[in-house]
C-alpha cells in the first residue's frame, strides 16, 4: 500500500488519493498520468498489467488498485 501511495505522490504530488473512490471518474488523473501509473506499478510490483485489467473500476480507488495488484501478484 505504501509503495503505491509513493508512486501516486510521484505522479500527482499534493493529492490525497486515499480519500477518493472515483479517482478516474472525477478526472483526478489525466490519461498521461494513468499511462505513467500503469508503467510504475508494473515496474515496482513486478506484475504484468494486461489491457483487460485496464478498466476504470480497477483505478478508481487506492483499494481497488491494491486488489488488482494483489491478484496479479498471485497469478505469477
Amino acid at each position: 500500500m505504501e509503495k503505491l501511495l509513493e508512486i501516486l505522490a510521484l505522479i500527482k504530488p499534493g493529492v490525497d488519493f486515499t480519500k477518493s473512490d472515483s479517482i478516474v471518474d472525477d478526472g483526478i488523473l489525466s490519461s498521461m498520468d494513468i499511462a505513467r501509473l500503469v508503467g510504475e506499478i508494473s515496474d515496482e510490483f513486478d506484475v504484468d498489467i494486461e489491457v483487460t485489467d485496464l478498466v476504470p473500476e480497477n483505478f478508481n480507488s487506492v483499494d481497488s488498485m491494491m486488489k488488482m495488484i494483489e491478484r496479479l501478484e498471485d497469478e505469477d
Binding site: 504530488p13 499534493g14 478516474v24 471518474d25 478526472g27 488523473l29 489525466s30 490519461s31 498521461m32 494513468i34 499511462a35 489491457v51 483487460t52 485496464l54 478498466v55 476504470p56
Partner: protein, 505 residues
C-alpha cells in the same frame, strides 16, 4: 458562397432530423442544433455584430450550439479550454477586445472569476430566447467571406498566447478540400478526439456541418481505457477517425486489437505530430485491409492542413511516413536559408500560399509580420505567404518529407508547446532566479531546470501549473546551483539538453 453557415443550412434542409452531433449525454439533430444556435445568436446580436465571443463551455453539444450561434450573430468565436489555468484564460480574454462571454451553468463560476468587464450570456437562458429572424437575415446581408469565423489560441514564445484569425473564406476553402479528398458524406460517422480549441477539430466538425455526417464526441476518459474506447467506436458505429498519433498509438501499445476490434472503421486520419510507423503498422496489420490511412500535415495558420499523404505502400517500423503533397487549392514551396527556392531534394523551410491561410494573429502585428510575409519568389506585386517554420525536403518519389521545427517550439501529443511559456510560469515563482525548459526528445520528457533559493521543486512546479495547461506540465523539475551560460551570456540550452542528467536529473 460567402459564409460557412450556407453549408449548415443546406445540410439542415437535406437532413433535418438526422443526428448531427452527439456527446455522452445528448444527441442533437441538425434542425435542433440550428434552432438553438439561432436563439443564441438572437441574444448575442443585442450586443452588436463582428465581435469576439469567448465560449467557456466544456466539449459537448452545447458548446457546438454556442459556436454556431456566434457565427449566426456575425461574430467570431474563441473556444476556451475551461480546464486550463485561470491565468491563461485571463490572458486570452485580455488579448481580445470588446468580447462577449457565453458560458453554461457548469462554468459560470469560472466565467465570473476570469472576466473583467465582459458581459456574460448564459447558455441555458439563451436557448429559451425567441429567434429574431429579421435581425439574423440583416446581419448576413452585410457579411463578406473575409469576415472572421473564429480565433484559435496557441502558445506564444513570450508566454503570451497567440490568436490565429481564420476567415469564412479560409474555412470554406479548406473544408471543400478535405471533404472531397476523403469523400465524406451523410454516412460518415466521426469519433472526435481533439478539443474544439485545437485546429484539428475543424476538420471533423466542419465536414459534419457541410456533408451531414455525424460528429460523436468521445469521452476523454476512454483514451485511458482502450477496451472501452473500442467498445464506444462499435456502439456508435464510428467509421472515420482523425486523431493525434499519441491517441492512435495507445491502442497499438496495448495491442488492443488482439482482444477487440473496431468493426466499422473505413478511414483513419492523423496529424499534429509525427506518427510512429511501428504503431501505425499494428493498425494496418490487425484491421481490415480496406481501411484508408492518411498522414495529414499543417499548422493552425493554414486552417488545419497544407499537405497530406495517403498511405499506399508498406513501411518498415523504422521508416518515417512522408507528409506527401499539397492539398487542392493550396500551394507549397521550399525556401533555402539564402532566400532561393530549394531544388532536387534540398532542405529548406516550407512556405504556403493558399486561401487556407489565416489573416494573422489577433492584436499581434509583430508576430504576424514575422510569419505572414511577402512571397520571396515574387518580386512583381504584393503577395502574402505563410512561413511554417518547418524544415522539409522532397524525396526521390516527389513526396515531401518532414525534418524538424526550425526553432525551439516543440509538439507533443499534437499540442504545440512553446518552452518559453513554461519558463514564464516558473519565472513567476518568487525566489526563482533563472530557468530553462528543455525537451529531451529521446525520452520524451519536458525538463524544467531552475536556479534560485526555492528549495522544493514542487513549489516551482505548482507555479508552472497555475500558468499553463496540463499538457505543458514539465515531467521533471531540477534545481541546480548555477545555470550554465554560453559565450553570449545566454543560458546554454544546448549544454543543458545533453547534460541535465549529470546535473542531477
Amino acid at each position: 458562397m460567402k459564409n460557412i453557415l450556407e453549408f449548415f443550412e443546406t445540410t439542415t434542409v437535406k437532413f433535418p432530423y438526422k443526428i448531427g452531433f452527439t456527446d455522452i449525454n445528448r444527441k442533437s439533430t441538425f434542425s435542433e442544433t440550428m434552432d438553438k444556435s439561432k436563439r443564441i445568436a438572437s441574444v448575442l446580436s443585442l450586443y452588436g455584430t463582428g465581435k469576439p465571443v469567448a465560449v467557456l463551455i466544456d466539449k459537448n453539444c452545447n458548446c457546438i450550439d454556442a459556436m454556431l450561434g456566434a457565427l449566426y450573430a456575425g461574430d467570431f468565436y474563441i473556444v476556451v479550454d475551461v480546464h486550463s489555468p485561470q491565468d491563461r484564460i485571463k490572458n486570452i480574454l485580455s488579448t481580445l477586445e470588446d468580447t462577449i462571454i457565453i458560458t453554461d451553468s457548469n462554468s459560470i463560476e469560472l466565467a465570473n472569476t476570469v472576466r473583467s468587464s465582459e458581459p456574460i450570456a448564459l447558455y441555458e437562458d439563451a436557448i429559451r430566447y425567441d429567434i429574431n429572424e429579421n435581425a439574423l437575415i440583416n446581419i448576413r446581408k452585410n457579411m463578406i467571406d473575409m469576415d472572421t469565423a473564429y480565433i484559435l489560441f496557441t502558445s506564444g514564445s513570450t508566454g503570451k498566447p497567440k490568436g490565429t484569425v481564420i476567415s469564412h473564406r479560409s474555412l470554406i476553402s479548406y473544408v471543400n478540400w478535405i471533404t472531397e479528398e476523403f469523400k465524406f458524406d451523410e454516412t460518415t460517422s466521426f469519433g472526435s478526439q481533439t478539443p474544439l480549441y485545437f485546429s484539428m477539430s475543424v476538420t471533423d466538425f466542419y465536414s459534419t456541418v457541410k456533408c451531414g455526417c455525424c460528429y460523436n464526441i468521445i469521452p476523454k476518459q476512454h483514451f485511458s481505457f482502450p477496451i472501452n474506447l473500442v467498445k464506444y467506436l462499435n456502439e456508435y458505429q464510428i467509421n472515420t477517425i482523425y486523431w493525434v498519433p499519441t491517441a492512435i498509438s495507445i491502442l497499438s501499445n496495448w495491442k488492443v486489437f488482439d482482444v477487440i476490434k473496431p468493426e466499422y472503421l473505413k478511414t483513419v486520419l492523423f496529424a499534429g505530430e509525427v506518427m510512429p510507423t511501428k504503431q501505425l503498422n499494428y493498425w494496418i496489420n490487425s484491421l481490415d485491409e480496406n481501411i484508408t490511412y492518411a498522414n495529414l500535415f499543417g499548422p493552425t495558420e493554414t486552417t488545419d492542413i497544407c499537405t497530406f499523404y495517403v498511405v499506399n505502400r508498406e513501411f518498415a517500423d523504422d521508416d518515417s511516413l512522408p507528409i506527401g503533397k499539397h492539398c487542392d487549392n493550396c500551394n507549397v514551396f521550399i525556401v533555402k536559408e539564402d532566400g532561393t527556392e530549394a531544388k532536387d531534394g534540398e532542405e529548406g523551410e516550407l512556405f504556403v500560399r493558399s486561401t487556407f491561410m489565416a489573416d494573422g494573429y489577433y492584436n499581434n502585428s509583430e508576430k504576424t509580420k514575422e510569419a505572414f510575409v511577402q512571397n520571396p519568389l515574387n518580386k512583381a506585386y504584393p503577395e502574402r505567404v505563410y512561413k511554417t517554420g518547418d524544415i522539409v525536403k522532397y524525396n526521390d518519389k516527389g513526396e515531401l518529407i518532414y525534418i524538424s521545427r526550425k526553432d525551439f517550439q516543440i509538439k507533443r501529443s499534437g499540442y504545440r508547446i512553446e518552452l518559453g511559456e513554461i519558463e514564464a510560469g516558473a519565472n513567476s515563482v518568487e525566489g526563482v532566479k533563472n530557468c530553462a525548459c528543455i525537451y529531451d526528445k529521446e525520452e520524451d520528457l519536458l525538463v524544467l531546470i531552475y536556479e534560485g533559493r526555492v528549495k522544493k521543486t514542487e513549489t516551482v512546479l505548482a507555479g508552472v501549473m497555475k500558468k499553463v495547461p496540463s499538457y505543458m506540465y514539465p515531467d521533471k523539475v531540477l534545481r541546480i546551483k548555477e545555470m550554465p551560460q554560453n559565450a553570449n551570456g545566454k543560458i546554454d540550452r544546448k549544454y543543458l539538453s545533453t547534460n541535465y542528467k549529470k546535473l542531477g536529473g
